[in-house]
């Protein structure tokens, strides 16, 4: 294992990979900071840059963008009171309040240091846990993989929006999209209606770009044309730095919150938003000064920021060891693996250990670089905010077109992307969450193949799915995640 880390450091520290981490991190920060672009959208748009890069350079750039995106959402939250990411809402509440009191730099330093701490904590957990989980997962058979994918789909459907029914409808739609094309086992055509475009199936990168990015631009187009000019007095990061005693005083919060973030990030479909809110809620519950919450509680800010960055390591652990996306963004990473001819999962550690250990090191370095990148990013963001939003939107559409075209150099993919952009827009207009459809599109094939292989193994007996202890536990967890929201939706998630 030490040999792997040594090689990984040697590879990641090559100039092209360092540059990739820097550029990816900066792009992620800006994508997270700019309202209208989410972290997952930023990663999708970055995919087109990575087609011709070597795998290690590509993944360095993408993981840096992922870490940067989660961090960047807090910049606008503190300076403008606008959450760049849903996971930054607690930061708006506490960080912006601090900024309005004249402590913008203090809030920015606190968020930055806690984010980096949370990120590094989860990377260390990822380094330890991924090989263990991957080894354990080698014992998984088709029934266990089927149960795991069902768990992933049920969690994201149950927690992604206000309506459980719409969440599952979106999931079903994604599962349907995954079946279009050629059947992986019999080779027969399904739902192609004799068209060439559909014969190869729906390319999920194209669908993701449309459902996520194009639909977002169309939704933003409805709002009155706006460019936010005012911000609380930011005079530079040197204005007010927090003292070490502040962090020593909040040591328990700083240990608890990244743990919450890492565990929640590892749950398929949960992600940074839930991690951030759960940690914030815990901090509020156990705080010695609960009356400060809502008016600039520093422990609330620390909790949400360390947890939301810690979720990145948790999500990546599940992606690398089991091949399951822990969040929307890691679902995009699956596309990156496929573009470079790899499949994330338990076998990845044995077939491409240099990639897995390289990703560990790249994430560690990304979190360290974020300190410098964020300070640069704040200035750049304030300048970019002067750009006309209309032109910015046009540029995003062009990036989407390039991303969709660059996959197979086919104009047909552009029409597919456009169609999914319209579908995504209609879905969002009617409150149907898009995330379950995207994840179902990714997991649908996996789920079907696992189910059919299980039934082949058992000669058609469905009891194989509930006769193995691991698959029973996972299916029970899936049922729980479906039933739980029917009885109790945490107050903090209402309205999300």
């Amino acid at each position: 294992m030490l040999d792997h880390y040594w090689n990984a450091f040697a590879t990641v520290l090559l100039p092209q990979n360092i540059l990739a981490i820097g550029l990816g991190g900066l792009w992620g920060l800006l994508a997270g900071a700019l309202p209208g672009i989410s972290t997952s959208m930023g990663v999708v748009l970055l995919l087109s840059f990575t087609y011709t890069l070597s795998p290690m350079t590509a993944f360095s750039m993408l993981v840096a963008a992922y870490c940067g995106g989660i961090t960047g959402g807090s910049i606008t939250s503190i300076l403008f009171g606008i959450p760049g990411e849903p996971s930054s809402v607690p930061t708006v509440i506490e960080g912006h309040a601090l900024a309005k009191q004249g402590h913008a730099a203090f809030a920015l330093w606190t968020f930055l240091l806690c984010s980096i701490f949370g990120g590094i904590f989860s990377v260390l957990v990822m380094m330890a846990a991924t090989p263990l989980i991957a080894n354990f997962a080698l014992k998984f058979g088709p029934p266990e993989f089927f149960a795991l994918t069902i768990l992933g789909l049920s969690v994201v459907s149950g927690l992604s929006g206000g309506s459980l029914l719409k969440g599952f409808l979106s999931c079903s739609f994604g599962l349907f999209l995954a079946t279009i094309g050629t059947d992986g086992i019999t080779g027969g055509e399904r739902f192609t209606f004799d068209t060439m475009i559909l014969l190869g199936g729906i390319n999920f990168v194209t669908a993701m770009v449309g459902l996520l990015a194009v639909s977002e631009i169309l939704i933003e187009a409805e709002e009155p044309f706006k460019e936010y000019k005012g911000h609380v007095g930011y005079r530079g990061m040197r204005a007010e730095m927090p003292k070490f005693s502040l962090f020593r005083k909040n040591w328990f919060n700083l240990i608890r919150s990244p743990i919450i973030g890492t565990i929640v990030g590892a749950l398929p479909g949960a992600g940074a938003t839930i991690a951030s809110f759960l940690a914030y809620g815990e901090a509020a519950r156990t705080s010695k000064e609960p009356e400060k919450f809502g008016h600039g509680a520093i422990d609330g800010l620390m909790a949400s920021e360390s947890a939301n960055n810690a979720s990145t390591g948790g999500s990546m652990t599940i992606l690398l060891s089991l091949g399951l996306p822990g969040s929307n963004t890691t679902a995009m990473m699956i596309a990156a693996f496929m573009i470079h001819g790899m499949q994330p999962g338990p076998l990845l550690l044995s077939t491409h250990p240099e990639i897995v250990y390289g990703i560990f090191v790249a994430m560690l370095l990304s979190n360290l670089f974020l300190l410098v990148l964020t300070i640069m990013g704040i200035r750049l963001f304030l300048e970019l905010n002067r750009l006309p939003y209309s032109v910015f939107s046009a540029a995003i559409i062009i990036l989407c077109v390039i991303g969709a075209f660059g996959l197979q150099n086919s104009v047909d993919d552009l029409f597919v992307m456009f169609a999914f952009g319209l579908i995504g827009y209609v879905m969002r207009k009617f409150g149907i969450p898009v995330a379950p459809a995207i994840l179902a599109l990714v997991l649908g094939d996996m789920a079907e193949l696992a189910l059919r292989r299980s039934l082949l193994l058992s000669l058609g007996d469905p009891m194989i799915l509930v006769s193995r202890p691991i698959s029973v536990i996972l299916l029970a967890a899936a049922v729980f995640s479906i039933v739980y929201p029917l009885f109790k939706k945490p107050k903090m998630l209402q309205g999300l």
């Binding site: 019999t186 399904r190 194009v214 939107s393 390039i402 660059g406 456009f418 952009g421």
Partner: protein, 169 residues
């Protein structure tokens, strides 16, 4: 919005039902234990039909309930605002579609050059400086980064447009 939701719900019921019947035709059993191509689609499409029906019934219920209560009339300003938003979205969609349609014919560089100000105009951008400068900047940066540096083979168009595109990439 309720009428739109009812229409969408009805469309979902029809769509998933149609696909369910398509899946039934795919259903075939091969060797023992092999459930065939149609099994998995039938499973979730059946659930989808039920979910869509549930959504449609719930929406119809809310619609008839709201109809029974006194309905608040929207002000002329709100109606005008809604029309304005729909117009912006409609124009944006048209711009994107025209961009994609035109690209194989006139090439990436020209289609992008015209798309930028057209899309900005659709979003009610009126500043002349922005509309004049942005197409040049955006197209130049895009060609430099993606066509030259990353070497993505963008469409060059046909006829005279190919000749024009070859001047740049």
């Amino acid at each position: 919005m309720k009428k739109g939701e009812i229409a969408l719900g009805a469309f979902c019921v029809a769509f998933f039902s149609f696909m369910f019947f398509e899946a039934v035709q795919l259903h075939g059993v091969g060797r023992f234990g092999e459930v065939g191509s149609g099994f998995w689609p039938m499973l979730f499409l059946g659930v989808s039909v039920l979910l869509s029906l549930g959504w449609l019934i719930a929406t119809l219920g809310k619609f008839f309930k709201a109809k029974g209560e006194a309905a608040a009339e929207s002000s002329p300003e709100a109606s005008a605002d809604t029309r304005g938003r729909r117009k912006k979205v409609g124009l944006s969609i048209l711009c994107i579609f025209a961009y994609i349609l035109a690209m194989p014919w006139i090439g990436f560089i020209l289609s992008t050059f015209f798309f930028v100000p057209a899309f900005a105009l659709a979003l009610e951008e009126r500043r002349k400086l922005v509309l004049i400068i942005s197409p040049f900047l955006v197209t130049a940066i895009t060609i430099l980064v993606f066509a030259k540096f990353i070497a993505i083979p963008f469409p060059r168009g046909v006829g005279i447009f190919t000749v024009f595109s070859r001047l740049f990439y």
